[in-house]
């Protein structure tokens, strides 16, 4: 019997933390050494009750399959889950995730991964029958929606098995321990990815549990987060209203769902997200040019419940980009750096310097000022063109008002 999962629900665990992320914007892959090395520099920001990593580009041979990473309490739970999976998914490949022995890692659950695609989603899900599926892209988004619901429902309804990672060509590796121990436990030097994020956890109110460690993975999203969200109740209520079920009782889970809801389901440009999650003050919005003031005002009014209040710095990973954001009055540290086609974000500059002693540029984003590093894909233009944000940029640069509002 593994007691590490007992904290599943009912308790929310606010936490202090260390976060680190690195992306090679050209898409070159590199192994987990660097990120372990960097996060270990911030050992004192975590307390051994949680550490983890997310990596993108690690499963090129299965890139069309959802890579499900699971924690099981015991082999019975695994058996039951696998029987269930057989019904729902076409399982391309399944295996235990290889782990090494590490004296500092105690009581790990059973950890396994499954590369799957859902069988015909229409026959599986009653609700999805109502969707109007005309072409491949419709099917693709319906499939994503199916996976999203499957993962949240599965985790919500389960006490002894959890899906901790559910994206394609990416994976989350986490557990209870210091991040560097977790990294070695998972043998991350055997994986090669173009984007890595990592997290060292300092939960304050309870002992950590494996499922509650970061990063939080959901579809292609991975979120690492340092902070405690004072608006948790409001934000949770907001995502609940749109059908998300919160099972992990962590702020990070809610943050992940916010990203998924806003970006994937409401089609809001990533460039606009900071105007929701860390919205400008009303008094700042009043200074926006008249032609677009209403847009930002409306955005804030409609998504007022998605404003994330309280201290946070987050790094969000996705197949296409790495995104980092601070709360709007910058109550948590966040530093960014660039060196050729490598880009970094971290809680502390020291960890960046550890792996990249002299970056071309280091800067400290303001509160509410996002950092976005896009993976360069040939033929794909960044979507910033013609957005209100670009207009804002132009306006403030031409009006010498840079101090009033900075836009990436």
């Amino acid at each position: 019997m593994n007691l590490n999962l007992k904290y599943k629900s009912g308790y929310r665990v606010p936490s202090g933390c260390a976060v680190f992320g690195v992306i090679n914007e050209s898409g070159r892959v590199f192994n987990g050494e660097m990120v372990i090395n960097a996060i270990s520099m911030m050992h004192d920001r975590s307390n051994g009750l949680g550490g983890g990593f997310a990596a993108y580009g690690i499963y090129p041979e299965f890139k069309d399959y959802y890579a499900l990473h699971l924690f099981f309490d015991d082999s019975l739970a695994r058996k039951e889950t696998e029987v269930f999976f057989q019904k729902v998914f076409k399982i391309k490949y399944a295996e235990d995730i290889e782990t090494g022995k590490n004296n500092n890692i105690k009581n790990p659950p059973i950890i396994a991964r499954y590369f799957v695609v859902p069988k015909n989603i229409i026959t599986v899900s009653e609700e999805l029958k109502e969707l109007d599926i005309n072409n491949e892209s419709d099917y693709k988004s319906a499939e994503e929606e199916f996976m999203a619901r499957f993962v949240t429902d599965f985790n919500y309804g389960s006490n002894n098995a959890f899906i901790i990672s559910s994206g394609k060509n990416m994976g989350v590796f986490k557990g209870v321990g210091y991040p560097e121990d977790i990294g070695h436990f998972y043998k991350l030097d055997n994986y090669k990815g173009y984007l890595w994020t990592s997290h060292g956890r300092f939960p304050t109110n309870s002992t950590g549990w494996w499922g509650g460690a970061h990063p939080f993975g959901f579809l292609n999203w991975s979120v690492v987060h340092n902070g405690e969200i004072s608006s948790y109740g409001t934000n949770k209520r907001f995502v609940n209203d749109y059908g998300y079920k919160c099972s992990f009782s962590t702020d990070t889970e809610v943050l992940t769902y916010l990203f998924d809801l806003l970006v994937r389901k409401h089609n809001i440009s990533i460039y606009l997200i900071n105007y929701i999650l860390a919205s400008p003050l009303w008094s700042d919005i009043e200074l926006f040019p008249e032609e677009i003031r209403d847009i930002f005002k409306t955005l804030r009014i409609i998504y007022s419940r998605a404003l994330v209040n309280g201290p946070f710095s987050i790094i969000v990973g996705n197949q296409d980009y790495m995104y980092a954001l601070n709360d709007r009055i910058k109550l948590r540290p966040l530093v960014a750096a660039k060196n050729k086609d490598y880009s970094f974000v971290s809680s502390e500059e020291s960890s960046i310097r550890k792996v990249c002693p002299s970056p071309d540029r280091v800067w400290f984003p303001d509160g509410g000022e996002p950092v976005l590093f896009l993976l360069n894909k040939k033929g794909k233009k960044p979507e910033i063109e013609h957005s209100p944000v670009e207009y804002l940029n132009e306006y403030f640069s031409s009006n010498m008002c840079k101090d009033k509002q900075k836009v990436v």
């Binding site: 004072s230 608006s231 089609n267 677009i292 009014i301 409609i302 007022s304 009055i329 013609h386």
Partner: protein
């Protein structure tokens, strides 16, 4: 009828050593309690006439007067309280319904006082509102489910087209509005004080069903015009004079009961404002006689929206009754942009005491259950929820918002700021504070300049306190508290009460 069984409610203590016989008390009492005896050069007071409004006590320059609640000399009986005896004696004398004013004073549980708010420690910094921005601006109106993206015309972003139509919104600088109190039930000076304070602070007041006096049109952008069952003063111009429209179905103090403004209060000004003959009784029927069902309400809502070209939010005010959650759901589906719920402790100018003290439910429970019900139906975020019915302090405001309200209405609190001492005799039209009266001798006592200033001060003070509490909880925008019940804990409540309120008990962590 010489036999009167009732006892006086108050004792007037006059310290003869301090009384200088200046007669301020004599001149200030509209109930003729005090009388100057020229022979003795002294003042004699009659306890039985005293209503306990404390006007004389407040204005006495030497502090010679003290009004004390008289201890009942009825024989003690737990079952037959002095209240029962007094009412029976009165009714045996008059054969009438016992009238009363203001909200119920009966000792039902006040849930606000059993809820505690949270603050940050260590893991999350609290924020000092004097040094950091702290936002309490609130928007009231219908909100769409999601935003639809802008469309830009070619490369030119000068005129981006925004596909989402937000619909009309009220923008309040504080989530506190002044609730419906009609001109007629209160004096013009009282309405002037309230409307001016709302205008200057950037919030809203509600006309009640008294129509809109011509002197108040300059505050129209801060006005919510009410349409009640009597339809007093309602025409197209009236509807378009406000920032929003509220259909009044019920009032917390008297659910299911209409209103009656006696003819003697209908002076020239009231009659022109209400558009009724001078001296005629103004009777508001118990129901709207064109609303006997939810579909009738939907029709009235669309009629009002048509009349105002969809430029103003239209809300519906209902009293908190047992079935409030499904009723609220029906109102959302009938097309209302906001719902105002008035709890059973809400005030009134006149109500049968038996109704006021026995009908309806507390606003805290009504709010919690409406919020949950609307969320279950996935329509809570579409509308704004205003609550009323005895919001007494900024902490009540904070707790209401954390329970799920968008904003609150204050009525009694506003009148208290104007001088009301809660004597509950509003229905007599003898209000010594110049509030609930139309007698020109008394209405003069309320200088709207002073009244507006005091109300402005009250809002300023509450805004400060709300910001302090928000900052303490590590929140710098009021919207992050809305429905954030994680920040509330119950104390001394049963499992059932906690489950209805949707909060944990004090001592339970996240």
């Amino acid at each position: 009828m010489a036999l009167k069984l009732n006892q006086s409610e108050f004792e007037i203590h006059r310290d003869e050593q301090k009384c200088i016989s200046c007669q301020v008390c004599v001149r200030q009492c509209s109930n003729d309690v005090h009388e100057y005896d020229e022979d003795n050069e002294s003042i004699i007071s009659d306890n039985i006439k005293c209503v306990g409004c404390q006007r004389c006590e407040t204005l006495c320059p030497t502090g010679a007067i003290r009004i004390k609640q008289r201890e009942s000399e009825f024989k003690y009986n737990y079952n037959w309280s002095p209240g029962h005896l007094k009412n029976i004696y009165k009714q045996a004398e008059t054969g009438g319904v016992i009238l009363t004013g203001m909200g119920s004073d009966k000792p039902y549980t006040i849930y606000w006082d059993h809820i505690l708010f949270n603050a940050s420690q260590v893991t999350n910094p609290s924020i000092d509102p004097l040094r950091e921005p702290m936002e309490i601006k609130t928007f009231i109106g219908r909100k769409p489910d999601k935003i639809d993206l802008y469309k830009s015309s070619g490369k030119n972003m000068k005129n981006p087209v925004f596909l989402t139509n937000l619909g009309p919104q009220l923008e309040a600088e504080i989530p506190v509005l002044f609730s419906a109190m009609s001109y007629g039930s209160i004096s013009l000076n009282a309405v002037k004080s309230i409307s001016r304070a709302a205008y200057e602070f950037g919030t809203f007041y509600n006309t009640g069903e008294g129509g809109l006096h011509k002197d108040l049109k300059k505050y129209s952008e801060s006005t919510i015009v009410q349409v009640a069952s009597g339809r007093f003063g309602v025409d197209k111009d009236y509807l378009n004079s406000g920032a929003a429209i509220e259909i009044k179905i019920g009032q917390g103090a008297k659910p299911g009961i209409g209103g009656h403004l006696p003819g003697e209060k209908v002076n020239y000004e009231v009659s022109t404002t209400r558009m009724i003959p001078e001296g005629a009784d103004a009777i508001s029927p118990a129901p709207h006689h064109d609303i006997y069902s939810i579909e009738d309400l939907a029709q009235l809502i669309s009629a009002l929206k048509e009349a105002t070209e969809y430029k103003k939010p239209v809300g519906v005010k209902v009293s908190a009754v047992h079935n409030i959650a499904p009723i609220a759901s029906g109102i959302v589906r009938a097309g209302a942009d906001f719902i105002s719920i008035d709890g059973f402790r809400g005030g009134t100018g006149a109500a049968p005491q038996v109704i006021r003290d026995n009908v309806g439910i507390p606003i805290e429970l009504a709010l919690a259950s409406v919020d949950i019900r609307l969320r279950e139906e996935g329509i809570r975020h579409n509308i704004s929820l205003l609550v009323a019915g005895s919001i007494r302090s900024s902490s009540d405001v904070i707790k209401a918002i954390a329970l799920g309200a968008d904003a609150v209405y204050i009525g009694t609190a506003a009148l208290l700021a104007l001088g009301c001492h809660l004597c509950q005799k509003c229905y007599t039209s003898k209000c010594n504070w110049g509030i609930a009266t139309q007698d020109p001798y008394l209405t003069k006592r309320l200088n709207p300049e002073i009244g507006a200033r005091r109300l402005y001060n009250l809002l300023t003070a509450w805004a400060h306190e709300i910001k302090e509490m928000l900052g303490g909880a590590g929140i710098n925008a009021i919207e992050s508290l809305r429905g954030n019940r994680e920040h509330l804990r119950g104390i001394g409540l049963s499992e059932k009460e906690l489950s209805i309120l949707g909060i944990k008990h004090a001592g339970e962590a996240w």
